[in-house]
């Protein structure tokens, strides 16, 4: 039989393989790996959601949202307040308004409400601010973060103010996280491939040209911003129910830095790049964190240097920006169907030649 004409994996086939592979990996980790690895995986998935969302908002539209972690805070606090068991509510949040006092929701609805609330806030905020250019948008989003932070710290009755909010039920497990990660990637990937996504990229590449084609910059930026806010908030809820206690301090700009590094490393504008970046940096961070406790190489003993990992990350970031600002993937995506058909064809060829 002659060579098969180029047989690409169908998009559906590719998707199914990826999803199956992903959940297979999750199953393996859940049943086969140590709890340490499980925790890392959960953290990694949450990071992936955050990076991909930030990519949508910043990488695809070219407008950098410095205050994005504010949405994570909204998601975390909203969901946590809603899922907190009634008994704890009485103890921890005695001044809650009546209707909340008696509400206790399950994980999914609470998370969804958190996401929708964030989306609403994003809409209101974005409608006013997305018209601004360059650094001015950055200030505005930073202002948003400050406002969120101030509200969190001072609205004692709802958030316990600056004190730690604890007792959050540990709902997050690898399946929830995996599920949401898959959903996030799918939705954002579909969005990127849709006409909306193309419009966004057109805006990013040449705003004036895009406008002359009738593309509404405001609407596209707003769309990206709101969808991104939703998933960022979801990640917040997942994180809150993983770590179980937190305070407003966890949602300051500095915490975003790791996510930004992942974004840059993977390439702003590439979803697969974001995933790669998240994986790479997470592994690197873990290695560094372990090294912080001191490394004993037998004859060489490097003493513990706490905080060194942050410094090294900052240096890596600077080096990346100088030498490869477009990251690993740039604006391209990993084309899985091509990848699969390549391996598939290879196998076929081997079979043919071995005859």
């Amino acid at each position: 039989m002659q060579n098969n004409p180029k047989k690409h994996f169908s998009p559906l086939g590719t998707g199914l393989v990826l999803v199956a592979g992903f959940f297979g990996l999750l199953a393996f980790i859940n049943f086969g790996a140590s709890s340490y690895i499980q925790r890392i995986m959960i953290g990694l998935c949450i990071s992936i959601i955050l990076v991909v969302s930030l990519n949508l908002s910043s990488g695809f539209t070219g407008v950098f949202s410095l205050g994005h972690i504010g949405f994570m805070a909204i998601g975390a606090y909203t969901a946590a307040i809603l899922t907190l068991p009634l008994s704890l509510k009485l103890a921890y949040l005695p001044d809650l308004p009546g209707w909340l006092e008696n509400t206790q929701l399950a994980f999914l609805p609470a998370t969804l409400i958190g996401g929708l609330l964030a989306m609403l806030v994003a809409f209101l905020f974005g409608v006013s601010v997305m018209r601004l250019t360059g650094p001015y948008v950055g200030v505005a989003t930073l202002g948003f973060l400050v406002i969120v932070n101030v509200i969190l710290v001072n609205w004692d009755s709802m958030t316990r103010g600056a004190r730690t909010f604890s007792g959050v039920p540990p709902f997050t497990d690898i399946w929830w996280v995996g599920g949401w990660t898959a959903v996030t990637i799918y939705v954002i990937w579909r969005l990127a491939r849709s006409s909306y996504g193309r419009q966004m990229m057109a805006i990013r590449d040449n705003q004036i040209a895009a406008q002359s084609l009738g593309i509404s910059v405001l609407r596209m930026r707003l769309l990206a911003f709101c969808v991104s806010a939703f998933f960022t908030a979801v990640a917040g809820s997942l994180w809150a129910h993983f770590i179980q206690s937190f305070s407003p301090k966890a949602f300051l700009f500095v915490e975003t830095f790791a996510i930004i590094t992942m974004l840059i490393a993977g390439g702003m504008g590439s979803i697969s790049g974001s995933v790669i970046g998240a994986v790479g940096i997470t592994i690197l961070a873990e290695i560094l964190r372990n090294a912080e406790r001191g490394v004993n190489l037998g004859f060489v003993h490097i003493p513990p240097v706490y905080g060194a990992s942050q410094i090294i990350m900052a240096v890596i970031f600077i080096v990346l920006i100088i030498f490869r600002p477009e990251g690993i993937m740039g604006k391209r995506e990993l084309n899985f169907s091509q990848l699969f058909s390549f391996t598939f064809r290879r196998k076929k060829r081997k079979e043919v030649t071995s005859q």
């Binding site: 200030v139 948003f144 410094i311 900052a314």
Partner: protein
Amino acid sequence: MTSLTPFEFIIQQAINAISIGSIYALMAIGLTMVFGILRLINFAHGDLIMVGSYATLFLTLAGVPFWIAVGGGIAISCLTGLLMERVAYRPIRGAQDVSMLLTSFAVTIFLENIAILMFSPSSRPFPAPGLLNSAMNFGALRVNSVDIIAIVVAGILLILLTFFITRTDMGTSMRAVSQDLLASRLMGINTNRVFVTAFGIGSILAGIVGILWSARVGKIDPLMGFYPVLKAFVACVIGGLGSLPGAVMGGYILGFLEILLQGILPASLTPFRDAFVFSILIVLLLFRPNGLLGSTEMEKF
């Protein structure tokens, strides 16, 4: 102690406002100068405050007389700023705005963590001498000497800077470069030297602000630069990024706004003061998207 008449109260608050406004203005000048010339928002500017303050602290602890230590601290601020420019920003000149902004955050993280490593995250008292930290009484009026000094120092520096920017060749070159980099290069203007000068001046100003701020607050810690640089950024934006008079104006407006809100807001809302400041800023940007002294052209969406 007699209570203040309304007139005295206003004077007291005005002095407060002008003093804090002066500090914001000096910070904002350094930030806007660098932005106008390099299109870079240097968030690490805040850490220059921290570096200068710690340097002064350690010099004093080593036995150096305070005012000489101040000179040393400012010099080290300046050096750090120049180093920053050479190592982190020069290699990426001409890159996208976003890359430069993010790099400045990386530099911030780097400096802050090194400081935490070297000095521990807890705050230390700042050894301000009597001159910088005595309460002065004018009848019922109580004024801290550091406020007066801040106002005077700012006034002198602003006059010097204005002279420098308008009368000297280097100052005029800086204005030219911030207006049109390509044309400047074609005139043979030594753009490298202009960039370095901008950083140098900004860093020196940051060092001075560091002393004033530390004397006012009384203590220093590795993360002390965050709020000042944020306020400075807001001040620049109010006046229009890249505009020196705008930065000065923005600084004083911000100072007045803060003191005003502090006075006007009911007690239950005063903790939310910063949120109000930012909300007002966002509203301002809606009407003047490029700051007060910037153009009124908005993107036509």
